[in-house]
C-alpha cells in the first residue's frame, strides 16, 4: 500500500547551496514504523525483562538513550515510554500499553560535519559529545513545534516532526541549511 509522505509535494532531490560545498544532507525516512510502549510505574522491572527477552538485547537503554540492533532500534523517550522502530511486540496490558504511531511523525535524517551546528540554529539543546553522546535522544522544539531528536553518531541525527507541521518545518530547515550548502537525498 502506498504511503503518502507529508513532504510529498515539496521534496525535491538535489544539491542546493549558496556556497560551493554541500556540508549537510537531508533524507526523509520512508515508511516509518513506530510503536509506542507505555509502561506502568510499578512494572518497570518486568518491562525491562520482557524487552530484553523479546528483542534479544542485553542493555536496556536508560531515559533519553537508545539502542540500535540489526535494522531496529529502541529509544526510551520518557521515563515510562519507549519508541520501538521496525519491530512488532506483544505486551500484556498489565505491564504496558502499545500504540502505533507510525503515521504521526515525519522522520528526517540529517547528516554532515555541520549537522550539530545546523541543528543548534533551531534547537536549544546541548549537542556536544560529552553532554549528548551517540544514541541520545531529546524531546525539544523547533519553531514552537515539539520534535524528537535522535543522535545516531556525531554527524548523524534523526529528527521526528509531527506530521501536520512537517511541511512548514521542512521549509524552515532548508532555508537555514542554505548557508551551509545541502543536498536532499532520495527517500
Amino acid at each position: 500500500m502506498h504511503r503518502h509522505s507529508a513532504l510529498e509535494t515539496i521534496y525535491k532531490v538535489g544539491k542546493y547551496s549558496s556556497s560551493e560545498k554541500q556540508s549537510l544532507t537531508f533524507k526523509e525516512l520512508k515508511s516509518l514504523e513506530i510503536l509506542q510502549i507505555a509502561c506502568w510505574p510499578d512494572k518497570i522491572d518486568e518491562m525491562n525483562n520482557l524487552i530484553s527477552k523479546e528483542l534479544k538485547i542485553k542493555n536496556i537503554p536508560s531515559f533519553n538513550k537508545g539502542i540500535i540492533f540489526e535494522n531496529k532500534s529502541l529509544w526510551r523517550m520518557e521515563p515510562l515510554k519507549w519508541w520501538l522502530f521496525n519491530k512488532e511486540i506483544e505486551i500484556s496490558e498489565q505491564i504496558a500499553t502499545i500504540l502505533d504511531m507510525s503515521h504521526a511523525f515525519t522522520g528526517i535524517e540529517i547528516t554532515g560535519d555541520n549537522s550539530s551546528l545546523f541543528l543548534n540554529r533551531h534547537l536549544p539543546i546541548d549537542l556536544r559529545a560529552r553532554n549528548f553522546p551517540d544514541l541520545s535522544s531529546a524531546s525539544t522544539a523547533i519553531h514552537h513545534v515539539s520534535v524528537k531528536l535522535f543522535k545516531i553518531t556525531s554527524n548523524n541525527y534523526c529528527l521526528y516532526i509531527p506530521r501536520g507541521f512537517a511541511l512548514s518545518i521542512w521549509e524552515i530547515l532548508l532555508e537555514t541549511a542554505d548557508q551551509f550548502g545541502y543536498e536532499v537525498l532520495e527517500r
Binding site: M1, H2, R3, H4, S5, A6, E8, T9, S18, Q36, A38, W40, E93, Q94, T97, L99, D100, M101, S102, H103, A104, F105, N120, R121, H122, L123, P124, I125, D126, R128, N131, H143, H144, V145, P162, R163, G164, F165, L167, S168, I169, E171, I172, E175, T176, D178, Q179
Partner: protein, 985 residues
C-alpha cells in the same frame, strides 16, 4: 581636500582600496577602516546633526559609545538608520549619509533651532503645548496632539525605510563552560587560563578584531594571540556583542554576519541572535572614557583622547594638527606623546596641579588648567582655557582639535542587567562592579584596573574564581586593587561657563545640557530615575555610556551629596541596539507562526478548496465552482449535504488514545455523563466540565476495546484537553493505570454526511455489511477496511443532523481515502464541503461549538442538562450546582429568526428587550448562517430565561458596531429535524 591619513601608522590594508559614498559624494578608504576612520581620513568633520538643536556634530569616539556620528547606511529597503559610524566597517560600495538634517548635515535649515535653544529646555514641549490657557486652562492635550507630529519631525534621528526588510536573520544556540565577554588583555588571559584547565570556552568580541583597547597600540599584533586562542580550542566570536545577561548564566549575543560586506545574499543571515548557555560568565568589557562638560564641548573636532589614539595607531589617521588634550588623569600622556611623534602640536591641560609624569617633553603640559569654551561653530577655531581653581577664561589657544578625558567608566552594564548595583569608588571617580553570588566575574578595566599587567592578572584570577565556583578547584586567588595610575585622578565633570547662555553638553545624543540637569533639580526631579526621564539623559541609543556619570555628578552637587548617595540608574539590556529583525529571526512572513496542515491538505487544494486558518491549522473553507462567492458556495454545499451527500475534512479535530485497565473509570470521572456502561463498538458524545462547573469541551469517545478508547475533541481545545487529562493522571489520580497519547497526527478523518452517505460508503468499504443500519447503528463504531486494503475506523456520528459517518484512516493513507470517497460521492452528485457549510449545517441543528462554549457557559445553559449525571461524581459535578450557576435568569441556548425573514444579522449581535436597548441586553447571538433548508437567516445564541420565557415575545437585535438593528423571534435551537429522524435513518 587634504587627507589626514599618515604613513607608517595603522593596521589597515593599504593595498586594498575601498570606494564608498558619503552624502552622495565618492570617497576612498582602505580595508580595515571603519566608516568613521575613513571619513576622518577624508577630512570630513561634520557627520551629523544633534537631536534637538540640530547642532553640527563630529566623531566623538572610536567605539560603541559613539554619540555624535550616527548615520544612515544603505538606501531604499536596505536603509539602516542610527548606525554608529565608529563601528560600521567600511566595505566597497558602502553608501552612507547624514541624518536629521535638511538638505544635509553641512547646511541644515533646522539649525535655527540652535539659536532658539533657550526655549527648548527639558520639558519644554509638554509645558508649552499642554493645557494652554485660555484654550485648555491648564489641562487637556488636544493642542499637544496637534503639534506633536511637527515637533517629532523636527527632532530626532534617522528614519526607517518603511519597506519590508529584504534581509534574513536567524536565531542560534550554543553551550559552553565559560563565556568570556571582551578580548582585551584580561579577557584573553581568562580564556587561555580556562582553556588550559580544559574548560570549553567561548570568547566574544564586538569588534572585528580581537585585542580590545590594545588595538590602539602601534606595535600590537593580534594574529599571534588569535592563533594561540584557536590552538587551545577556544571558540572566538568576533563582530558579536553580548547585549544582555539573563537568568542561569544565559547570555544574549548579536552577531553581525554580513554588515561588513557589500554583497547581499538572502540565504546568509544578515545578523544572528545567539542564546548562549554557559556555566560561568567572565566579563572583561573594558571601560569607557568620559568627556567633560564645558561650553561648546560638542563642536566637531571634539573627541575622546583614547579615540584619537585608535585612529592614529589602528587606522593611520592623525585626527588633528594643533591638538589640545584636556584631562584630569594619567591615561592621556602616552597618547599625547604618540600624537606629538606623529606630527601634531600637542598641549595637555591637566586640571591637577600637584603630580609627576614622565614625558620626553615633546608636548606642553599646562598643570592646573581646564577647558572653558570652544570657539567655532562647524569646526574648532580655538579653545578658551581657565585655571582649574578659579574658573574664568584666562587665555585662548588656537587649535583644530580638543581631546577630552574626564576619567574612565568601567563597563558595568552587563552585570547591572542582573540587578547588581555598582558602587562608587572615590579614588578612581567611577562606578565599580559589586560582588554577585551568580557565576559572573568581572575582570580587567571593567573592574577598574587601568594598567595592562593588572588586567592580565585579573583575567587569570577571574578564571580561578570560575573554577572554584564550578567546584573544579579550590585555589586561592586575588584580584589587583582598582586603579593603577601613578597619580590619583582629580574629579572633573563640568567647567561652569560664566555667561548666562551656555551649551555644556552632558548627553550629546539627546542634547541634554548641564542647564537641563539644573532645571530638573529646580523642578523637583531629583531622583536619578526622575532626572533621566525628565531630561532624557541616558535614554538615547548610547544609553548614557559617555554622559551618565557627568549628569549624576551634577545632581549630586546640586543636592549637596556624594555621587554614591545619588546612585545610578539601572542599565538594562540591550547594551547596544539590537535590530527587530534579529529578535524575530526566521519567524517572519509565512513562518511567522508554524503552519499545520491535514494529510489531505494538497488534495483539498487540488480539488478547489479555499483555505482558512483555524488556530494553526489550514482547513478547507469552501470549494467554489467557477464564479461562486463564499456565500454561493457554502449554500450550495450545505444544500447538497441535505439532499444527497457531502465529504468534509475533519482531521483537525483533536484525537486522543486512552488506554489501560482503568480507562473506563477515567472517562467516567472526566465526563459529566456516564461511560461505565458504554459497550465495545459504541461511541458516546460527552461533555467535559472544568473544576468550576463550566463547560470545558465536548466530543465523542469511541470504545474500541475493553480498555481502549479513541477520544475526539474540538479543534481549538485539543491541546488543552490533552494536557488537562495528563495533569489529572499525574496529580490527582495517580492510582489509575491509564495512558493518554495524542494521536491527532496519526489519524486523518472525514465526515461523509447526507442521505446518500451510506450508499457512498458501501462502494468504498471491503465489506458493505459492516455499515448496515443493524451492524452500525447511530453511534456505532467499527474497525474495518476500505477498498485497497486500507484499515480504517468508522463511526456513525452526525454533526450535520443527517445520516453521517466519520471515517478515519492512518494519515499516510488519507489521499487514497479521499480519492476513493470522492470518486463514489460524485456518482450521487455529492460535493466536497468546507468549514462554512459545516457551520451552516450545525447551526441549523443547534449544535454548539467553541463560539457557544466560550468559558462562561454551563451544561444547563447549553441545554444539555440531561447529560449531567446525578449518579456519579465527576470533574465539576459539585461546583456546577453553585447557586449562581442555577439562577433562573441565566442565559440559555436558543435559536433566533429575524422577524422579517428577509433581514440578516451577525454574530455578536446583542439581544435586548424592546424599549430597553442598552448595555449588554438580555442575551447575545453567537453564530449565524443563511439556512438553505429554511430559506432565511438563522442564528443561535443565549438569552436570559431561555425559550420558554421569550417564545412569544419580539426582541430586538442591536448591533451597534455595524450600526444595525432588527427584530428577533426566539425559537428552539434545533431548527431542523428536532427529533433526529434523519441521522437515525
Amino acid at each position: 581636500m587634504k587627507t589626514r591619513r599618515i604613513d607608517n601608522y595603522g593596521k589597515i590594508n593599504r593595498d586594498k582600496i575601498l570606494s564608498f559614498r558619503w552624502d552622495k559624494k565618492n570617497y576612498k578608504g582602505f580595508e580595515g577602516d571603519t566608516l568613521a576612520s575613513a571619513l576622518l581620513a577624508n577630512n570630513i568633520g561634520i557627520v551629523g546633526r544633534s537631536f534637538k538643536y540640530h547642532r553640527p556634530r563630529g566623531i566623538f569616539s572610536s567605539g560603541v559609545e559613539e554619540s555624535g556620528a550616527l548615520v544612515t547606511i544603505g538606501s531604499k529597503d536596505r536603509r539602516d538608520p542610527n548606525v554608529r559610524a565608529t563601528t560600521q566597517e567600511l566595505y566597497n560600495g558602502l553608501e552612507a549619509s547624514g541624518q536629521n538634517a535638511f538638505p544635509n548635515v553641512n547646511f541644515d535649515l533646522a539649525g535655527i533651532n540652535n539659536y532658539l535653544g533657550r526655549f527648548f529646555a527639558a520639558g519644554f514641549y509638554y509645558k508649552t503645548f499642554m493645557g494652554i490657557p485660555p484654550l485648555e486652562w491648564g489641562k487637556g492635550t488636544a493642542i499637544w496632539m496637534f503639534f506633536e507630529k511637527f515637533i517629532r519631525k523636527a527632532a530626532g534621528m534617522g528614519s526607517a525605510s518603511g519597506l519590508p526588510d529584504p534581509d534574513t536573520y536567524e536565531h542560534a544556540h550554543d553551550f559552553c563552560d565559560l563565556i568570556v565577554v571582551g578580548s582585551g588583555p584580561a579577557g584573553v588571559a581568562a580564556a587561555i587560563e580556562a582553556a588550559e584547565k580544559k574548560l570549553d570556552v567561548i570568547l566574544v568580541e564586538q569588534d572585528s578584531l580581537i585585542g580590545g583597547n590594545q588595538l590602539a597600540e602601534n606595535d600590537f599584533d593580534n594574529s599571534q594571540i588569535k592563533n594561540q586562542l584557536e590552538n587551545l580550542g577556544i571558540k572566538i566570536m568576533t563582530r558579536t556583542t553580548a547585549f544582555g545577561l539573563y537568568d542561569n548564566c544565559v547570555v544574549g549575543l548579536l552577531e553581525r554576519v554580513t554588515d561588513h560586506i557589500s554583497a547581499s545574499n538572502v540565504n546568509i543571515p544578515r545578523q544572528r541572535f545567539w542564546t548562549i548557555r554557559a556555566k560561568h560568565i567572565i566579563v572583561g568589557a573594558g571601560a569607557i572614557e568620559r568627556h567633560i562638560a564645558f561650553n561648546n564641548n560638542d563642536i566637531p573636532g571634539v573627541m575622546t583622547v583614547n579615540a584619537s589614539k585608535h585612529y592614529l595607531n589602528r587606522y593611520g589617521v592623525l585626527t588633528g594638527k594643533r591638538i589640545v588634550i584636556a584631562t584630569n588623569n594619567d591615561s592621556v600622556y602616552e597618547t599625547a606623546h604618540q600624537l606629538s611623534e606623529a606630527g601634531a602640536n600637542v598641549t595637555v591641560l591637566d586640571s591637577r596641579t600637584n603630580f609627576e609624569i614622565e614625558t620626553n617633553k615633546s608636548f606642553e603640559i599646562r598643570k592646573g588648567y581646564v577647558p572653558y569654551n570652544i570657539n567655532g561653530s562647524k569646526k574648532i577655531n580655538s579653545l578658551d582655557i581657565s585655571k582649574s581653581v578659579t574658573i574664568n577664561k584666562s587665555e585662548t589657544i588656537n587649535c583644530d582639535q580638543v581631546l577630552l578625558s574626564g576619567g574612565w567608566s568601567p563597563a558595568v552594564h552587563l552585570l547591572s542587567h542582573r540587578g547588581v548595583k555598582p558602587k562608587w569608588d572615590y579614588n578612581n571617580a567611577c562606578f565599580l562592579p559589586s560582588d554577585t553570588k551568580e557565576n559572573i566575574t568581572m575582570v580587567g578595566s571593567s573592574r577598574g584596573l587601568w594598567n595592562k599587567n593588572d588586567c592580565i592578572a585579573s583575567g587569570i584570577a577571574g578564571t580561578t574564581d570560575a573554577l572554584n565556583r564550578l567546584g573544579i578547584s579550590k585555589t586561592n586567588y586575588f584580584f589587583p586593587k582598582p586603579g593603577g595610575w601613578k597619580n590619583p585622578i582629580q574629579p572633573l565633570y563640568e567647567v561652569k561657563y560664566k555667561k548666562s547662555r551656555s551649551k555644556s553638553f552632558v548627553d550629546y545624543q539627546h542634547d541634554v545640557t548641564t542647564d537641563d540637569v539644573r532645571l530638573a533639580h529646580r523642578e523637583g526631579f531629583i531622583s536619578v530615575e526622575h532626572l533621566k526621564r525628565y531630561t532624557t539623559l541616558g535614554m538615547a541609543n548610547d544609553q548614557g555610556k559617555m554622559g551618565n556619570i557627568i549628569g549624576l555628578s551634577l545632581m549630586a552637587e546640586l543636592l549637596n551629596k556624594e555621587i554614591s548617595e545619588v546612585g545610578t540608574t539601572v542599565f538594562r539590556p540591550p547594551y547596544t541596539p539590537v535590530s527587530i529583525g534579529a529578535l524575530s529571526g526566521r519567524n517572519v512572513g509565512k513562518h511567522f507562526r508554524p503552519l499545520r496542515v491535514t494529510p489531505m491538505h494538497q488534495w483539498n487544494i487540488d480539488h478547489g478548496a479555499k483555505m482558512i486558518e483555524v488556530g494553526l491549522y489550514q482547513r478547507p473553507w469552501y470549494y467554489p465552482k467557477e464564479n461562486e462567492t463564499l456565500s454561493d458556495s457554502y449554500i450550495r454545499e450545505a444544500s447538497t449535504v441535505r439532499k444527497t451527500v457531502g465529504i468534509c475534512d475533519v482531521t483537525s479535530l483533536g484525537k486522543i488514545a486512552i488506554q489501560g485497565p482503568d480507562s473506563t473509570e477515567f472517562l467516567n470521572r472526566i465526563y459529566s455523563n456516564g461511560f461505565s456502561k458504554l459497550q465495545v463498538g459504541k461511541a458516546r458524545y460527552g461533555i467535559m466540565l472544568r473544576d468550576d462547573g463550566i463547560v470545558m469541551d465536548d466530543g465523542t469517545s469511541w470504545r474500541l476495546a475493553e480498555n481502549e478508547y479513541f477520544m475526539t475533541t474540538s479543534t481549538g481545545e485539543a491541546a488543552k484537553v490533552m494536557s488537562w487529562l495528563e495533569e489529572l493522571l499525574q496529580t490527582r489520580w495517580t492510582d489509575l493505570n491509564v495512558n493518554v497519547t495524542s494521536v491527532s497526527e496519526q489519524w486523518a478523518g472525514v465526515s461523509i454526511a447526507g442521505p446518500k452517505s451510506r450508499e457512498v460508503l458501501n462502494n468504498c468499504v471491503d465489506d458493505s455489511l459492516v455499515i448496515t443500519n443493524n451492524n452500525l447503528p447511530f453511534m456505532g463504531v467499527t474497525s474495518t477496511f476500505l477498498k485497497g486494503n486500507i484499515p480504517c475506523r468508522i463511526a456513525r456520528i452526525s454533526f450535520s443532523g443527517e445520516l453521517a459517518f466519520e471515517v478515519y484512516v492512518k494519515s499516510d493513507f488519507a489521499n487514497t481515502m479521499m480519492d476513493l470517497l470522492w470518486e463514489n460521492a460524485k456518482k450521487y452528485d455529492g460535493c466536497l464541503y468546507g468549514l462554512e457549510a459545516l457551520g451552516a449545517l450545525r447551526v441549523e441543528k443547534g449544535h454548539v461549538t467553541a463560539a457557544e462554549l466560550d468559558g462562561r457557559v454551563t451544561i444547563d445553559d447549553a441545554g444539555l442538562s440531561k447529560m449531567a449525571s446525578t449518579k456519579k461524581s465527576y470533574i465539576g459535578s459539585a461546583m456546577r450546582k453553585r447557586g449562581v450557576l442555577k439562577n433562573n435568569d441565566r442565559e440559555i441556548l436558543v435559536g433566533f429568526f429575524p422577524t422579517n425573514l428577509k433581514e440578516t444579522f451577525n454574530a455578536g449581535t446583542i439581544v435586548c428587550e424592546k424599549n430597553n436597548i442598552k448595555g449588554q441586553g438580555i442575551g447575545r447571538i453567537t453564530s449565524v448562517t443563511y439556512s438553505p433548508e429554511l430559506g432565511h437567516w438563522i442564528g443561535i445564541g443565549f438569552v436570559k430565561g431561555g425559550l420558554d420565557k421569550w417564545k412569544d415575545t419580539t426582541l430586538v437585535g442591536a448591533d451597534p458596531v455595524r450600526n444595525k438593528q432588527m427584530n428577533l423571534k426566539v425559537v428552539s435551537p434545533h431548527m431542523i429535524d428536532p427529533k433526529g429522524e434523519r441521522m437515525y435513518a
